[in-house]
Symmetry: C3
Subunit: 219 residues, 3 copies
């Protein structure tokens, strides 16, 4: 009775992917705008940020159809979102800031981590691989976004925890399953932990250690 049926879980996963997709598309939109890409670039970078991580996960897991093939209407929704955002921003003279990217990013991080790890566990992957797939789902949309924008991916270089939050969130989900907790409990806690850690990290200004080379070892 505590355990939702497989159908409910599938629906929950679809909803999770949908919300995270919008959150990440917004972060892609803002990144493309800051690089002054053209309309095509805005749509592609938003699309990569939104669908790139999940698509890479599915390619690695050899899983078909992709989210955006099964739910092709999402491609239309993304296109509409991009056009609407471009028109709206043109009217409002809105200058997107790095700060504005942080909130949708944190929410998407939690949602994609939980969704990606769950999918990999259902595919029978070992725990470390399932967690890694959650990280790929959550982080590589942004990585592809940054590579196309010709920048070192911020997830690897800005010294603020990002993939690490996703990594911990994934282990929560794996742990919840090992403890035979209801699936939805694991999902909710994993989402909250990953997103919460990210928000905490940003609020506290904590930075990750880096490789100390000679000239920075006394840092």
């Amino acid at each position: 009775m505590n355990e939702p049926s497989s159908n409910t879980l599938t629906l929950a996963l679809t909803l999770i992917e949908a919300c995270a997709t919008v959150a990440f598309a917004l972060s892609g939109l803002i990144a493309a705008a800051r690089k002054k890409l053209d309309a095509v670039g805005v749509c592609v970078v938003a699309g990569l940020a939104a669908f790139g991580g999940g698509t890479l996960r599915d390619v690695l897991l050899d899983r078909r159809p992709f989210f955006w093939v099964e739910h092709a209407s999402w491609l239309w929704a993304l296109l509409a979102l991009c056009i609407a955002a471009m028109a709206f921003m043109r009217a409002r003279h809105f200058a997107p800031t790095e700060r504005a990217m942080q909130w949708p990013d944190a929410v998407g991080l939690g949602l994609f981590t939980a969704g990606g790890t769950q999918v990999a566990m259902q595919a029978g992957m070992p725990a470390i691989v399932a967690v890694l797939m959650g990280v790929v789902t959550a982080v590589f949309g942004g990585v592809l976004r940054d590579i196309v924008c010709n920048e070192i991916p911020s997830a690897f270089s800005d010294h603020r925890p990002y993939a690490v939050c996703s990594f911990f969130g994934g282990w929560i989900l794996v742990g919840a399953q090992a403890l035979q907790a209801p699936a939805w409990v694991g999902l909710v806690v994993a989402i909250a932990v990953a997103a919460g850690l990210r928000v905490l990290a940003l609020a506290s200004g904590y930075t990750l250690p880096q490789w100390s080379t000679g000239d920075t070892a006394d840092r």
Copy 2:
């Protein structure tokens, strides 16, 4: 009688991919030469420009064998093309210009759009996904070329229509099939529309809109 047999269509698609492959390899050659890459870089960038889009499409569609595995002689042809081009250009002191890339690019754009969309429709993809696969086939060879050359992909940032021409060409093919036109008619018209729009766009100097941030809103 109007409808060529499945074999003829397969042959036509193979020919289309072959012509587009040469056109894109040339654009890759020129891009690598402008970046002064070494002989390996010239071959790889030419190969990515030529086969990258179609290969990415096939990975996404989970379709095997790739064009260049089924027709492995094309890899030899590409190698010969690169060596010949390097020897010829060395003798002629030819300085490749951005302008010289535009014509093979426009032809390849039309051919790959039609081929990629057709392949995705045959794989039973929804219309928007089929069109997107045509765009991926046509555009992502150049995107991979630019990423390896460490530049923001020109398809996303130069404000001249490129992917958009491919997008319209793909819809022509989808529309032709919906109207039950003979397959070769759809292919020919789609190729002509995509390549023609690209030539028109370059000739007219039309530029795509960009995201207006505060400082550029009065543009």
Copy 3:
């Protein structure tokens, strides 16, 4: 009697991939350190350098499970290696140099070339494709490493033979099989040729030709 059993060959291939993986992870570690990436970036770049080429080969060959899924303990080993290296380097004030990357790179080049070509031959690929897959296995880990580090891949631009050594090593393996030599002989000779050519090339200072444009034709 000369021919090891299929099991022995599988074990040899696994050992080859393991050694090459460590060699390439070290090259990734050093590259990430030189770019001053954070701890996550160090792990990801080391992981891409180590597993990226083989994973790309397996995606192209549609081969599952990946090395790092079947042997998931390697992911833990990589993580431990990265953490240990970061702690050790922090203590020793070690400034990694480009020169320090060359030796693990040459060894990994030979090992991955042989492993990748062998896997593709077992999958029934044509000779040129099998050799290309060996090159992909050996070279594209480093290419992905450089793309994430936002540099033009050194394999394509530093004019020192790298992919070319892998290319020749791959043909040695294909030739050995055509001559019906024992499998382990082909593997050993191919590894030695690819790694040896690389060391020779570095020692002799030989540079690859580049595309001669007008201003460099008199070079």
